[in-house]
Amino acid sequence: MSDLLSLSMILFSIGAVGVLVRRNALIVFMCVELMLNGTNLAFVAFAREHGNLDGQLAAFLVMVVAAAEVVVGLAIIIAIHRSRGSISVDEVRQVRG
């Protein structure tokens, strides 16, 4: 139980560091996905701990939300690349198009 949770926390922390450190917007986005996967693992671990399926359903809903978020986020990255020619997060300092 605690080792599964520890792995989930480690993955979440690695994802958080990646969001802070990386410059490429695509990789920042992948790190967000890594954080979501870490929380999913914690949900599954807690579902097993308690012997019911509520945690697994929560993980399933997180997956649906992640899929929707990826679709919109990648569309935003493509739009930024189209208008600025770069997807480095340092060069996108204003939201205004």
């Binding site: 926390m9 450190v21 997956m63 919109v72 493509i78």
Partner: protein, 263 residues
């Protein structure tokens, strides 16, 4: 917990690869490794339905989407800049991340260190039926909200990825007139670009044509090859070396090359 002992190091190493990969493609592949490893962990911990969904949705759909976008925008973005706009930000971020991770691991690990109260079979038997009973029972409202979310995401992606044409599309006649106008103002040749050179030992488009003085003509090879540095250098770059492989390229001017292209 043997599955955990095998999979967990692989997952952590692949997740670290996400931090240190220089190219976006390598980061995407290491993220795929993380997701497959997590799917194995789900299967080992009484979640066969989530195992299948993780493989299909995350590894199959989301990672494919990431790779498509890498193909569209990420490849040409190149390696990240070495200079930091905020000095010391990486070190500070790494320190904060380490502290954050240590706090989470120690804190959560101490709170729940009891081990599993129930066997795996309690959540593994009738997994899909149980999830369906929950999803269409007490959680049916959340399920319907995800439906609305998916429709909104589809619409948002369509709106964001749609490209409005800002200038009218030029017809073929207008293109031709523009070419002649460029020829009149800048002297840019209105015809085809010169063809790549073909040497005795090389028969591909990455070999540039030679000008009369033996220098390679950059505009005779595709621009993408020039930017990638994949252009073959001709074996001899100077005139007056008879008998070498370059001597069978007849010296001719740029204009003559164009004339032959159009015929």
């Amino acid at each position: 917990m043997t599955a955990f002992g095998v999979v967990a190091p692989i997952v952590v190493i692949a997740a670290l690869g996400l931090l240190f990969a220089r190219k976006a493609v390598h980061a995407a592949l290491s993220l795929a490794v993380v997701m497959i490893g997590l799917a194995v962990l789900y299967a080992a911990n009484g979640a066969p339905f989530l195992f299948a969904v993780q493989i299909i949705v995350y590894t199959g759909a989301i990672m494919m989407l990431f790779l498509f976008v890498v193909m569209l925008v990420g490849v040409e973005s190149g390696p990240e800049a070495v200079t930091e706009p905020l000095p010391g930000q990486r070190v500070a971020a790494a320190l904060v991340g380490l502290g954050f991770g240590a706090m989470l691991v120690v804190g959560v690990g101490q709170v729940v260190a009891n081990g599993f109260a129930v066997p795996v079979a309690a959540v593994e038997d009738d997994n899909v039926e149980g999830l369906a009973a929950l999803m269409f029972g007490p959680y049916v409202l959340a399920f319907q909200f995800t439906a609305a979310l998916l429709v909104t995401a589809v619409l948002g992606a369509m709106v964001l990825a749609h490209q409005e044409r800002l200038t009218p599309q030029l017809s073929q006649a207008e293109h031709a007139a523009q070419r002649i106008r460029d020829f009149g103002t800048d002297g840019k040749h209105p015809g085809n670009a010169p063809t790549p050179g073909v040497y005795a030992r090389h028969n591909a488009v990455d070999a540039p044509a030679l000008l009369p003085d033996g220098t390679p003509l950059e505009s005779s090879v595709p621009g993408a090859l020039v930017r990638r540095g994949q252009v073959i250098r001709p074996p001899v770059t100077g005139p007056g070396l008879g008998g070498e492989p370059s001597s069978d390229v007849a010296p001719r001017t740029d204009d003559e090359t164009d004339g032959e292209d159009r015929s």
